[in-house]
Amino acid sequence: MAERYSSFAPGGTAWLLQRITAAFLVVVLAFHFFQLHFVNHAYEVTFLGTQARMQNVGYFLTMVLFLIAGAFHGVNGVYNALVNQGLDGTPKKVVLAVLVIAGGALIVQGTYVALAMAGWT
């Protein structure tokens, strides 16, 4: 019989956020690469240099947002990819939980790292 899709489970918000974060990421990721590979070379990175950059509040915020956006974008992307391949039912719920925790942990750890870099811990 025809499956009727009456339950209202929108996927639009996640979809839209994936696009918005993508748009944001284009800018910051380009900036990030430029900053750490072309302006400052990666092999010259020192804690002092990092600290100096991080202590700039604007840069700090940008990096944290970058992290959050990247984490959401990446984790949501992975989740979508799995759902696309037919992940369903309990495994789907488990995967979602794992991904949310991993993503959350990434953000927490990353923010903590950034604070440490800025020396605000």
Partner: protein, 274 residues
């Protein structure tokens, strides 16, 4: 011609650039020869066919021969148990979408001379095979029905006074392409997402919904209702813009474009609630 390049334009451009001349030369070359086709065989009941295999046929070539003509010839002359759906022979009934040389194509609309030999003919992927080239279409039909593919307006005005509902030619033009679908299932079979996610509505069903969603004769309320069907988790969002569907559609329906437009419609509608 206005706007974007339609498939027709493309074909015309090809013709001008001589691509089609080459084709007809190729056709002429084949005259008087045989075409080698390899056809997928499977029958759950018949010994020797339970394990799928390919059978080879050599079919005498005639000008204008299509893939369907070739399998019909093979059936009528060599093996009457060769099984496939077909009816109209003119690309309107949508019965004979096969997987020909790795691509979903309508047998009756594919000139065999345009293909590499041997021509490998298989049933549509991602649908269960019933026998030989026949696949079980019921899942496809289920998805088509799931979008409530019919005019919703209940209060059909009295038709005895012979008033039609007005519709602008522009609006009619907008739904024109979407209304051409012949339910062949080629698009659904080509979509990798539909293959993985059984609940995904799939390009054909979404396109069907598009026809109603964009028709000005439908009321706002109903359009909203339909968007809700489309924007559930296994609706439009599953589409990853692979474009395979658009690539294979024998009716040249811009499926990806329609799906994308509906995604935007759905987002716009949701934004209103924020």
């Amino acid at each position: 011609m206005k706007g974007a390049q339609s498939p027709q334009d493309r074909r015309l451009a090809e013709k001008e650039s001589g691509a089609i001349d080459e084709e007809s030369e190729k056709r002429a070359e084949l005259e008087g020869e045989t075409v080698h086709i390899k056809v997928f065989r499977y029958d759950p009941e018949v010994e020797g066919k339970q394990e799928p295999r390919f059978d080879d046929f050599h079919v005498p070539f005639k000008k204008g021969m299509t893939v369907l003509d070739a399998v019909m010839y093979a059936r009528d002359e060599y093996d009457s148990s060769l099984t496939f759906r077909h009816s109209c022979r003119q690309a309107v009934c949508g019965s004979d979408a096969f997987f020909v040389n790795g691509k979903q194509r309508l047998g009756c609309k594919t000139q065999i001379s345009d293909l590499e030999q041997p021509v490998r003919i298989e049933p549509l992927p991602h649908q269960e095979v019933v026998k030989d080239l026949v696949v079980d279409m019921s899942h496809f039909y289920d998805q088509m029905h799931a979008v409530e593919p019919y005019f919703q307006d209940e209060d059909t005005p009295d038709v005895s006074d012979l008033e039609e509902q007005r519709q602008s030619p522009e609006n009619r033009e907008k739904i024109k392409m979407s209304s051409r679908c012949i339910w062949c299932g080629a698009c659904m079979s080509s979509c990798n997402i539909a293959a993985g996610d059984n609940k995904y509505l799939g390009p054909a069903a979404i396109n069907k919904a598009y026809k109603f969603a964009m028709d000005d004769r439908e009321s706002e309320e109903i359009k909203e209702h339909r968007l809700r069907i489309l924007e559930q988790e296994h609706g439009v969002w599953r589409c990853q813009t692979q474009f395979s569907c658009t690539e294979v559609c024998p009716k040249d329906i811009p499926l990806t474009e329609h799906i994308q437009e509906l995604k935007r419609e759905a987002v716009k509608k949701n934004l209103k609630f924020w």
